[in-house]
């Protein structure tokens, strides 16, 4: 960055939830990494950033030392709920994960592609004649939200409400509005759980979760809730984040856009590269379980760790010229979805949705340009993503007549 803006942070006290982090995250990672691949922050009572590829990768594969049990986030918050499967460790983690995993397989994601394309087409129809849109608010946010609500068996036409609740809870976590949003979300999910208890199970993911068993027992009510809630969090935020971030990159690099239009078969490789370069889920929290030495550094039981997958994806020793977007990068073992037991459950669907959205945008509004300042979510420490992305383009025809 060549901006003259003065630095408003101290390297030894980085707060990943602060405003400055949203704008300077990647500079901060590089400055910290230049000192040490394991960096300490004095914020929140002290915690560590793991920054380089090997340090993050090996910790992801060592759940016995780096635990996902509740309280793993920095700050942990008051009596943090246990989101399953995420906030558990193997071996029980495997049992929780198995309940949902068949519904997120690569084959299922491929089967869902025509559905994603239909939704994308309908959403683009809504603004294609206007020549302008907030592409994040009008396409990349609703598509994954509509899908995950439909998966769970909720009324997907209410996606706007759900998105508002989720975004308020994730990105404005300490506001009074977040409390209200949480109340609405909890209430609505429990309504759905009760409907299935009284009216019988249906062909949907919530029913699958409710019928799932761990150690031969059904999940208690509060874990049915957090399982469903986790699906909503994963579904509603990160895929849109990736797509919005990638659209910013495509706007900055006309050559990349040209290439994708000319060579649509490059899209899967481009997807991996956008995941690497524009990683939406920047960090994952862990708690150290025992006094130990890891990568030459002493840790104590209870220490808080942030595995910074976004920084690992820019590790220059693994990805030469890491800040450059190169669709031909080979190999590209990016870890935006994490590695090891907690690999993102929705990864296959996220990639298909991303590819559908990017290909539909490049087909129907290939000359889009960002027409205002991209607005990021205020807190980028967990999910770093564009909230609003105004664009202009040459208007085009609807693909289906307006049914309204």
């Amino acid at each position: 960055m060549t901006t003259a803006r003065s630095r408003d942070y101290t390297l030894s006290a980085i707060d990943h939830h602060a405003d400055y982090f949203v704008e300077h995250n990647y500079e901060i990672y590089e400055e910290l990494r230049a000192q040490c691949p394991i960096a300490h922050s004095t914020e929140y009572g002290g915690f560590y950033f793991f920054l380089d590829y090997d340090t993050v990768y090996d910790a992801d594969h060592d759940p016995e030392t780096f635990s996902n049990a509740p309280g793993r986030n920095t700050p942990p918050g008051e009596s943090p709920p246990q989101f399953v499967p995420l906030d558990t460790d193997p071996p029980i983690h495997t049992q929780y994960r198995r309940i949902g995993v068949p519904y997120f397989s690569p084959k299922q994601a491929k089967k869902d592609e025509p559905y994603f394309r239909r939704i994308a087409t309908e959403l683009i129809d809504e603004f294609i004649e206007d020549g302008e849109a907030d592409i994040v608010g009008q396409l990349t946010t609703p598509l994954p939200a509509i899908w995950i609500l439909k998966m769970l068996g909720f009324d997907e036409t209410r996606w706007r409400e759900w998105v508002h609740w989720m975004h308020t809870m994730i990105h404005d976590r300490n506001s009074a509005e977040a409390k209200a949003a949480q109340g609405n979300l909890v209430g609505t999910v429990f309504e759905e759980i009760n409907k299935r208890r009284t009216e019988g199970f249906r062909d949907d993911l919530l029913s699958v979760i409710m019928q799932g068993e761990v150690d031969g027992e059904p999940l208690p009510e509060h874990l049915i809730f957090t399982y469903a809630h986790l699906m909503l969090i994963g579904g509603m935020d990160t895929t849109s984040g990736l797509t919005g971030n990638a659209l910013v990159s495509l706007d900055r690099h006309p050559d990349l856009r040209e290439r994708l239009i000319r060579e649509p078969s490059m899209l899967p490789k481009a997807t991996e590269e956008f995941l690497r370069h524009d990683t939406p889920a920047q960090t994952q929290g862990r708690t150290v379980t025992k006094d130990c030495v890891y990568k030459g550094q002493q840790f104590n039981a209870g220490d808080k760790i942030l595995l910074v997958h976004a920084a690992a994806n820019r590790d220059p020793r693994v990805f030469p010229n890491p800040d450059e977007i190169d669709f031909d990068r080979k190999p590209n073992r990016q870890i935006a979805f994490g590695v090891g037991p907690h690999r993102c459950l929705g990864a296959n669907h996220a990639k298909v949705m991303f590819e559908v959205m990017i290909s539909e945008i490049l087909k129907r509004l290939p000359d889009f340009r960002i027409s205002g300042t991209p607005e990021y979510f205020g807190d980028g420490g967990d999910v770093w993503a564009v909230r609003r992305l105004p664009i202009r383009f040459t208007p085009g025809p609807r693909s289906q007549p307006n049914s309204q």
Binding site: R97, R98, V101, P102, S105, P106, K107, Q108, P268, E272, K330, P331, N332, R333, Q334, I335, F337, V339, G340, P341, R343, A347, N348
Partner: protein, 82 residues
């Protein structure tokens, strides 16, 4: 005669975490067990897959779970028009 260029492919089931990159790169050579969240090798498909694609699948696997070995076995019957 040896089938030069053929490969023996194995997936370390302890390492595979179902990223499914191999299915994208070499769709004939790999299949997926949905319930177990892991990839498996399809032996017939391996023979129909370019060695370059198998190597790429190995190199791109985020868990480094794919092992390749040259499979220079002798064919019992020589190939050719009958």
């Amino acid at each position: 005669m040896t089938r030069e260029g053929y490969m023996k492919v194995q997936i370390d089931q302890q390492r595979c975490r179902g990223h499914a990159r191999c299915l994208d790169i070499a769709p004939d050579a790999f299949d997926f067990i949905d319930e177990e969240d892991r990839a498996i090798v399809v032996d017939d498909g391996v023979r129909r897959t370019d060695v370059a694609a198998l190597i790429e699948a190995q190199e791109e696997c985020p868990e480094q779970a794919i092992q390749l070995e040259a499979d220079n076995v002798t064919d019992p019957e020589p190939e050719g028009p009958k």
